[in-house]
Amino acid sequence: MSFFLTDAEWAAITLSLQVASLAIAIALPPAVLLGYVLARWKFPGHTLVNALVHLPIVLPPVVTGYVLLILFGRQGALGSFFADVFGIVFAFRWTGAALAAGIMAFPLIIRPVKLSFELSDGQLEEAAYSLGTSRLKTFLLITLPLALPGILSGAVLGFAKAMGEFGATITFVSNIPGETRTLSLALYTEMQSLSGDAGAIRLTVIAIVVSISALVLSELVSRRLSRRLGGQHD
């Protein structure tokens, strides 16, 4: 492949995959937990939280990116906290791109997750309780595996979003080659060129091929996992 792809393109591809994977790793656990809470618990403000979860897609990505820049920038409250305590810097780093992509993907992940927790009716959990497993264990052994199709569905959707994320990313971590210039940003940059569409079209094709391959792969993996753990369809 690297015969046909330039170094810069190759860098953008690996960076995109890396960013999207980290984004999902960051966003999935809280999405699953919050999805469960929203699906199964009733509490005051439930509907509000449910709506607030959608904020990252309701606002223009630039706004989200800007808010991230303010919060997680070098001078930002959270940014300096993470830098001082964990030594993690987000600003203008690929980790920041992953953070942005994860946050933008969050609402997309949580919806199918929540849905699949809603659709299972708790009867199997009752059986598990009666067999002596605690709430936590039951969640891990019964509820979670049964919600797997939804979790994987959300993860695939979120992964796609993370691959394509652009507005929040460029606003938060800029468009630095090799560090934050993902395939999406590279494509955007190429589109700014006045010297013709060739580069942009080339990158569009690359972005499509890479993303679709990644999606097909994740779809296959998730279908297999689903079949193994979910067992609804043998």
Partner: protein, 355 residues
Amino acid sequence: MIDLDISSRVGDFSLSAKFAVNSGITAIFGRSGAGKSSLIRMIAGLAAPDAGRIVLAEQVVFDRDRSINVPIQQRGVGMVFQDSRLFPHMNVERNLLYSQWAAGRNSGVGLGEIAELLGISHLLKRRPFGLSGGEKQRVAIGRALLSNPKVLVLDEPLASLDASRKAEILPYLLKLKNEFGIPMLYVSHSLGEIEQLADTLVLLDQGSVVAYGPIAQMLSNLELPQLVNGPDAGSLLFAKFSQYDTHWQMTEFSLEGQKLFLPGQLGTVGQDARIRIKAKDVALARKVPEQASVRNVLCVCIEGITETAGPYAEVDCRVGEQHLRARLTRHSVHELQLAAGQEVFALVKSVALDQ
């Protein structure tokens, strides 16, 4: 074992129950929609009553006034649900062993033994999807048995099983009670099952406990027959094993000084046995019939005769200290001129007896 006094309301349906029963097998009996499932859900801790208290195996597991509500995991209740509720993402073996690997419970009985008994050994590697209705229910029973429960709660566990499978599992449930001393709550609408299993009967109708008590007493209760559907009403008699005839394979019991014969070897000398005799299987005669295959002829004393509006009459008899009911036609009562106080002979075809 269980002492409760609860009330609850869901939608139009209100349930109120108050009873106390001791260990052994307690049957909960009632028509479809009577509230049986609702009641055991509250006992197991899957639903909370609106008011009242539940004491389970000496422990107060629920008390609305004192805000006690022990979670189901700590109630030690093994449940078999009306719908089997197997975990679809585990194979049959993982389902069966669930409480062992997931909850660290250890049961005295082994997987192999239970699987063999329930006839599911060949299914161990299968997923629940595709199992037949009865297969699912058998796995569910096995799963509950293997969870080492303090109390076993079964919601119509045998309804979807064939008679021979039923006949195999029933004695095993008895064995669980006798050998492991596991008390059971047994929901059923089959009086046959209940008579064979239960020590105590709780009768539920339209959400209320109509009556409860020891099974023998309940079965000779006059109101019962209407509730429990005529053809199955009967008496329960306590007898002692006296001897076994190996040639004819017949067991002789002594019942209040008289003899009763049952086919098969049914115990060891001196052992107590309970014998169920359906009222409709008892005929009365003023003379002992000669040269007839009716082996069991008991000398009884008529205590009372209740004629119904229909063609039947219920004749209550006394055998020593115990009660035996016969259901004859009014016509027969008239023809034989039966009346209270008479000494007559109760004819019971031996093979009509069950243990």
